[in-house]
């Protein structure tokens, strides 16, 4: 494979995400869900800063984990009141460019990092228990910025900028992979490959993906995938056979399935990075729905100041009435307290 030196000019171009068309959600007459926000509920120690808060999750005790893009990528733990508890994984090999953090039913903390291609399982105390995928060796150099080589055939245990992770009640592991592969992979609880849907190639048929960007698994073992560039969500069964798609709630940035016993699902039609005049008027809202697809309501809109959202990248909804959103461009996580829906929004 040809590799070339990346100039600093090329790197700075790479740093600017291209603007892309944002689709307005087509669903009509969705009730507005009123909410209040606690934008500064996470208290950082003096001198510490949050970077792009792309990933946020809670454990069973209500502790909040934020995996964010800072000078180094860092994973912070806060208690349920927002008090800083500790940092996990400082200097760890698998932290290069954060994308997701999720907590499993045993309170293990899993990070998905699309700069190292590594998925890491940390114990509740922060000890590394398992890794899947590998960070390419520095000695092998870097790939050219352009032209990009064609994607390698997707491998069982190798990711290409993976994005998110979930588990079924049996502990099987599901990973969305990702920006250069376009698939969902299933592993057993010991990290052995079971199956995949999609491949290294992007596609738009059911069971194919174009940037699978978020993933969650419900208590029936069904897999919910935010299929971002296809502007939809897909639901797969436990063996990764597609069940249905959801196409009317905007672009598929991220998806969250709440805790039980009555589970809800949240979809985010996040405003993109790179906005045209008017983009804020048609994007940025989050939808709350039943697992059968019935949309119950919507809330939120873009804005730099809270309660505005600046590109919601991930949602924690362990408690469906008290959710936490991690935002890319405002470097923060907001806690949102949702009220009962109050009639029709008459929205855009």
């Amino acid at each position: 494979m040809k590799r070339v030196f990346i100039s600093s000019v090329a790197l700075s171009v790479l740093g600017l995400a291209p603007a892309f068309a944002q689709r307005k959600a087509t669903i009509q007459n969705v009730p507005e869900i009123p909410f209040t926000t606690a934008p500064n509920f996470l208290k950082l120690p003096p001198g510490e800063y949050m970077g792009e808060a792309v990933a946020v999750a809670t454990n069973s005790k209500g502790h909040v984990f934020v995996f964010h893009r800072s000078h180094n990528n860092r994973l912070f733990e806060f208690d349920r009141t927002g008090k800083f508890v500790k940092e996990i994984g400082s200097g760890f090999l698998g932290f290069e460019f954060a994308h997701s953090v999720r907590v499993d039913k045993d309170d293990n903390i899993w990070t998905v990092d699309e700069g190292s291609n590594m998925v890491t399982k940390f114990s509740p105390e922060g000890k590394v228990l398992m890794v899947i995928g590998r960070r390419p060796l520095a000695v092998l150099g870097v790939l050219p910025v352009a032209p990009q080589p064609p994607n390698r055939t997707a491998q069982k245990y190798e990711f290409c900028r993976p994005t998110d992770i979930g588990w079924d009640p049996q502990g099987n592991i599901f990973i969305s992979d990702g920006y250069c592969n376009n698939r969902v992979v299933k592993y057993d609880k010991d990290g052995r490959f079971v199956a995949q849907a999609g491949s290294e190639k992007a596609g738009s048929a059911l069971g194919e993906f174009n940037l699978p960007h978020g993933l969650q698994v419900d208590l029936q073992g069904n897999v919910w995938v935010a299929d971002r560039t296809n502007n939809r969500y897909q639901v797969l069964d436990n063996n990764l056979k597609p069940i249905r798609e959801i196409t009317d709630v905007g672009v598929g940035w991220t998806v969250c399935v709440s805790g039980g016993p009555h589970q809800y699902v949240f979809f985010s039609n996040s405003n993109p990075n790179g906005n045209m005049p008017g983009t804020w008027d048609i994007t940025g809202e989050i939808y709350k729905a039943e697992l059968d697809g019935k949309v119950l309501g919507r809330f939120g809109r873009p804005g730099k100041a809270a309660p505005g959202f600046q590109v919601v990248h991930m949602i924690d909804c362990r408690n469906p009435n008290e959710i936490i959103v991690g935002e890319i461009e405002s470097w923060r996580a907001q806690k949102l307290i949702l009220k009962a829906p109050s009639g029709n929004s008459g929205a855009q």
Binding site: G91, L93, R134, L137, R192
Partner: protein, 344 residues
């Protein structure tokens, strides 16, 4: 599924292939255990890929690990590369003692660590292309090779040209060993395909080997060991064989039927034993992974382990320490850990 296919292959193919496959499969299984929490890391210290693990005469454990975060800075129109590997020392109980060589110039992509008979610690680095000798106190005692002034990204000769480079500079060296007289043998390695010999003072003596499949040629040299008589065992991973040379590089014999010899260790004593890892590729835990116990003539005595992520399973073993014949330390790239194995 795999087993069925394998048997089918053996049944259908004739002659040598079937014979060697059967020899491998019929090797007795050695019972073993992995000691949980064999080493204890302080809070906030994480292992990366464990390229090397070795013990000294006191039982102290040295781990050379690829911790990541290589940094490239720009100066005078050139990129300069720094860091991304660390070495840690633990005592015989696995308690953390200290870090050696923190931020040192030559720690970039760890390849191996070995301890010589005088308890000096030798680090082999495949990105700085250096072999670094630290005395038992952790001070730099001798340096072989030199880090490139500026780092071309990618390297100018990615993967190396496999030439039998006739100088004392390396291209992705992988391992180091010594004979009884203190002569130094460097496996060089993944870029070059040769063995370089230095005297005990670090003076370059000679080198042999180039890329190829014939006797004295290598696909790569992934591991190296020297026995009490001074014979040199070279793990020719890509050709899936071990080649044996005399002390001056004259080819003596070769043997195979154990996989890729990514890691190798020979015990001391009158009846030495060779441990050889048929390491799984980092991106596949459904093949290979077992470690062989052999006589130095290549006779397989037994095997143990398989690829995987649990204790007693291996993820791309890159290093074996066999100071004790029945208690081994293995360093794994893919599982970011050291396992202490007790063989029964």
């Amino acid at each position: 599924m795999n087993i069925t296919l394998h048997i089918l292959t053996v049944t259908l193919s004739g002659g040598l292939l079937a014979a060697s496959a059967l020899a491998q499969n019929s090797a007795p299984e050695i019972k073993f255990d992995s000691v949980p929490n064999a080493i204890q890391l302080p809070a906030g210290v994480y292992l990366g890929e464990v390229a090397g693990v070795a013990t000294n005469s006191k039982g102290d454990i040295f781990v050379y690990t690829r911790t990541g975060h290589p940094t490239v800075t720009i100066g005078t129109m050139r990129p300069f590369a720094h860091g991304s590997s660390r070495m840690f020392q633990f005592d015989r109980t696995g308690k953390y003692v200290r870090e050696i060589g923190k931020d040192t110039y030559g720690f970039m992509t760890a390849a191996q660590v070995r301890v010589d008979p005088a308890d000096n610690i030798w680090a082999v680095d495949e990105m700085s292309n250096m072999v670094m000798k630290f005395d038992p106190e952790g001070r730099v005692a001798m340096l072989l090779g030199r880090k490139a002034e500026a780092e071309f990204i990618p390297p100018r000769t990615p993967g190396g040209d496999g030439a039998g480079q006739p100088t004392d500079l390396f291209n992705r060296p992988t391992d180091v060993a010594w004979d009884a007289g203190g002569n130094i043998f460097v496996a060089d390695g993944a870029g070059n395909a040769r063995i370089a010999k230095f005297d005990k003072d670090g003076k370059f003596v000679k080198s042999w080997g180039k890329r190829g499949t014939g006797p004295g040629e290598f696909a790569n040299v992934l591991s190296i060991a020297v026995d009490a008589q001074g014979n040199v065992y070279a793990g020719d991973g890509g050709n899936r064989r071990i080649q044996v040379f005399d002390n001056n590089g004259v080819f003596k014999t070769a043997f195979s039927n154990f996989g890729n010899a990514q890691a190798m260790c020979i015990t001391k004593g009158a009846n030495p034993v060779l441990y050889v890892s048929n390491s799984n590729p980092w991106n596949d835990i459904d093949v290979a992974g077992e470690i062989y116990r052999m006589r130095p003539d290549g006779t397989v005595l037994g095997k143990f382990g398989r690829a995987g992520r649990l204790l007693k399973e291996f993820g791309a073993v890159n290093s074996i320490d066999c100071r004790s014949e029945s208690t081994l330390f293995v360093g794994e790239l893919a599982n970011l850990r050291v396992q202490k194995l007790v063989l029964h």
